[in-house]
Point group: C2
Amino acid sequence: MLTVITPQEARKIIFDRFMPLYTPTESVALADALGRSLYDDIVSDEYVPGFNRSTVDGYAVVASDTFGCSESIPAVLELRGEVLMGESARYTLTPGNCVAVSTGGDLPEGADAVVMLERCEVYGERLIGVTSPIAPGNNIIYKGDDVSPGEMVLLKGTCVSPRDIGILAALGRSRINVRPKPTVAVISSGDELVDTQQTPERGQIRDVNAPMLEALIINSGATSINYGIIRDDENALRRIVKKAVGECDAVLLSGGSSAGTRDLTARVVGSEGEILFHGIAMKPGKPTILGAIDGKPFFGLPGHPVAAYFVAELFIRPLIARMMGSETKQRTVTSRISETLSSNHGRAEFVAVVLSDDGASATPIRGKSGLITKLAHSDGYICVPRDSEGVAKGALVTVTYWD
Amino acid sequence: MLTVITPQEARKIIFDRFMPLYTPTESVALADALGRSLYDDIVSDEYVPGFNRSTVDGYAVVASDTFGCSESIPAVLELRGEVLMGESARYTLTPGNCVAVSTGGDLPEGADAVVMLERCEVYGERLIGVTSPIAPGNNIIYKGDDVSPGEMVLLKGTCVSPRDIGILAALGRSRINVRPKPTVAVISSGDELVDTQQTPERGQIRDVNAPMLEALIINSGATSINYGIIRDDENALRRIVKKAVGECDAVLLSGGSSAGTRDLTARVVGSEGEILFHGIAMKPGKPTILGAIDGKPFFGLPGHPVAAYFVAELFIRPLIARMMGSETKQRTVTSRISETLSSNHGRAEFVAVVLSDDGASATPIRGKSGLITKLAHSDGYICVPRDSEGVAKGALVTVTYWD
């Protein structure tokens, strides 16, 4: 008997029950940290920038020297030299003087503003005229404006983006502690399944779920091990599940299209571990089993590829993120539905949609469960809540982008 | 003198000028096709599914046998046997008979509907009662419902998603022709730059752009070669640019914070190839150079990390996609800006924003150009068009998600 729970309840059980992996941290070179999950908070131990810098090409001045100047009565300053890029300013500026400085150059002691070249006139080698007054602090980035010592810069669990790589480089972190990637087992079951390479006979179909789930696992930042296709046989199933639980951090078994296999899966999980739920009140994806074996998550996924894919996006991607001490961040857009979707009773319905170029219109993909081509052409999905009256054509819907 | 063009014009020049790489195709295993760009259109040469399948557990019937039946007057049918999973149905159904079939099982010849188990009563080994009439075609997926021979399934240039892997598996494609990854050179220039590993002296800063740009290149599906930091010297610059152009498909040179270096870069590109534009009317990112050397794109990027990052997101990511025969797909959300942004004159302004959890509110990240930590914490960016009056607090804005 299915103990059916809502998608929200299912997610809560997953999050309450399974913890980040506390296996040893992995130290990787900065470049290899891209897409990995930070093991530690990154706290700065430096000032960035490490010195006061000009943000323009111009002349470092004492701002008060320029007060009241204009194009007709420029402030005339004596040029004491130039700050070279990559060197500290060797001058201490005093009133009446200025020093040439490039964008990013070190600001001399005593200077409190930089006048852009465009607002200066050159009267020969040693005399500069400033044609517009400047306020103290203008055109300067101060030491520590970006980061100061002790400042929290990136939180542990952050999935490292190219922008984060930029920060880590700025802080001089050439090696980064990241969480190990979880290893997720993929098993396909069903007497009707054959490998991608094989030509199916009548009654047989190629195994779509294993390659697709492996891609989703890798896409989520984990690694996968494929245990192949097993037949609908309790002993074979039990053997492969035990092996996978022993070797991996999580196990996905897809298939069990037939009622017999579903019962078989439940029996094996129930005896080897514990069933946490059996059935989610959603469409597609209802016949989903979650179990725990040796403290590790076990998912029994529907055999239909579209159903398996929705369950993987909604529950397994977040589970993998959690195992890496991270969280998935959903990207959504508000759009108008182009067709009326009729109501569904008692089950949240997830519908793939194609977005118009500007994202303003979402066309639902119709079709019988299992039509994988239709899914691939979609941009994301919407959820029609359980017990709703459906969604009327033109209504606003929240589309969650895939990936 | 800068010939400043708009971001739209810049993008058009990039797209008109640079073509997909027509180097030989690369054949990869299905699992390795994830994230790669398809070299060919994928046209099905098979039916998916290859046979008529039941979508439920139940009994295959001749639908007309059930017309008029009810719970009180069930239609009584003779059970002829069972279709086993993975085998073709060995029965040809005639009126008055039925055959047991599981979800995904082969539909016997002669059957035109499948009655769910829940709508049947079992009267012993050979007799089944159907308690509710069924229409022809119900609970069946027909041969070719998903794909038929000759049907275009995926377009060349598609960046392969886990869902696409699913389709390719369904069609039996175990090896896939993909476009080669472009190789992009990354060069940093500036006398003030030191490596990530080094502790900068006063006046020096760590090179942020090279690691960040390399991460963005990899994230875009290409590979990168880092040519290190070169000093502001025309001969050194010329040598490294020629080497990079010889070895790579595109070259990025970042730096040139000082006016002298910018001139130097323009001189080298102008003499080794052709300058296509020098300066984009955008903030940040104005001092960007695009050139062509030996027909290959050369980008001179601003030294400020934030400016370099915006130019890379807006122009280099699409360029890499184009070189792979693909297109970047921007993901956007409409949100309300939480603060007034003042107008800017003559330049499109790109502002990074942090989205609220529901995406309804976008808070602009303020700060001087070059503050890389602020950028990393943002979710995406908005564009304040040139010559606009700015954006008033609460106004609707289109946020483009990063990556």
